[in-house]
Amino acid sequence: MIDKICAAADALRDVADGATILIGGFGEAGSPTELIHALIDQGASGLTLVTNNAGNGEIGLARLIQRGRVRKLICSYPRSAHGYVFDGLYRQGRIELELVPQGTLAERIRAGGAGIPAFFTPTAAGTDLAQGKESRMFNGRPHILEQAIRADVALIKAEAGDRWGNLIYRKAARNFGPAMATAADLTVAQVCRVEPLGAIDPEAIVTPSIFVQKVVHIPDPISERAHIKELAAGQRT
């Protein structure tokens, strides 16, 4: 019997130092905070993370960065209101940053999952972010060649999953999850609900089982918003 449901620690046991890790989420929505905490406990370091943002406060992504486990971030928008952890390390030159336009980031990950090693895109052509990239005209417009991103591990958050690894998401928390799930050797999804096999409508499954290796049940995930409020309250007292 296939059963991909397991504890976070078991799912992440074999993550190696120096691994490349895709981490889902757009800000708080879809951020696999509990999986990131399990990765901190697991101890891997020298990581390259691929994420849209760089975390807020001192939980999840921000905490992983704060603990010095991250060598490099491949990211579209590492700046945010409560992003002081990354901000500080970056200004000290203690973390490397590869800045990628958000749609190019999503497409590079999608390409990694789809066996497309490189593609041409008009995004960023003629800008500083095109420097060093092969350029070619299509339909009279300049385009640049972008490379696929594949990773050792993807950590994502979904609303529900089953023991085969089928996933559905919730509202805009879907964001990078489905593309990231396709582009890693080990995709681990934390889910708020575990459903019996067959209970998720096969027409509505967003990530089919083939893309997921481990499912971790986190029924009541941490709220980043509440954490930020607590931090602010702590500073006031």
């Binding site: 757009f26 749609g103 960023a124 805009a172 964001n175 593309a179």
Partner: protein, 212 residues
């Protein structure tokens, strides 16, 4: 010289959007355009993070941090709306399916170039979806104050800041009027009440043609 208020600028930009358009509004001043779409007039708002049919902000007790816009603020979904993933969302943008995108800007050149992602002195660089929107929207428009806080022109002959996209802007709405980049000059389409062509010339770093 008086010029338009922020809401008047937004209303002017909204008036150029046909019913049935799929529209992406940048973070900040562009978001205000949504408040000026007439009730019952169907415009479908796109958000980069995987939403079509974005509705207004919810009441505080209805806020859902899984339903946020590109600026990470809580929003709502209207009937007919849909959720999709990030690669599909940017396929909509890059593939030319978004009819109108309205962005804020640090600078716009009469060549249609726009700079809105890097002030050239930011500590942490961040680009987000700005370059994708600049490359992909069918019609790209800017809403911005005509000059910077210190009074320098934002509409220029050429950019001084790092570009977000080149030759992509169709129209600019400012507090002083409406202008279209035309290569080596801006064409003046409309002036706010009380504003003269001379006011605009004086505050623009590129040639102006037309008297609106």
């Amino acid at each position: 010289m008086s010029g338009w208020t922020l809401d008047e600028m937004a209303a002017r930009a909204a008036a150029d959007i046909p019913e049935g358009s799929f529209v992406n509004l940048g973070i900040g001043q562009p978001e205000r355009v949504a408040n000026h779409i007439p009730p019952g007039f169907e415009i479908i708002l796109h958000s980069e993070n995987g939403i079509l049919g974005m509705g207004p902000s919810p009441d505080p007790e209805q806020e859902d941090m899984d339903l946020i816009n590109a600026g990470k603020k809580p929003v709502t979904l209207i009937p007919g709306g849909a959720f999709f993933h990030h690669a599909d969302s940017f396929a909509m943008i890059r593939g030319g399916h978004v009819d109108v995108c309205i962005l804020g800007a640090f600078e716009v050149a009469c060549t249609g170039d726009i700079a809105n992602w890097s002030s050239g002195k930011d500590g942490v660089p961040a680009v987000g979806g700005a370059m994708d929107l600049a490359a992909g929207a069918k019609s790209l428009r800017v809403i911005t104050s005509h000059v910077t806080r210190s009074g320098s022109p934002k509409l220029l002959s050429q950019l001084t800041l790092p570009a977000t996209g080149r030759g992509v802007i169709d129209r600019i709405y400012t507090d002083l009027g409406v202008l279209d980049p035309k290569g080596d000059h801006f064409r003046l389409v409309e002036m706010a009440p009380g504003v003269t062509v001379d006011d605009i010339r004086r505050q623009t770093g590129a040639p102006i043609e037309g008297s609106a």
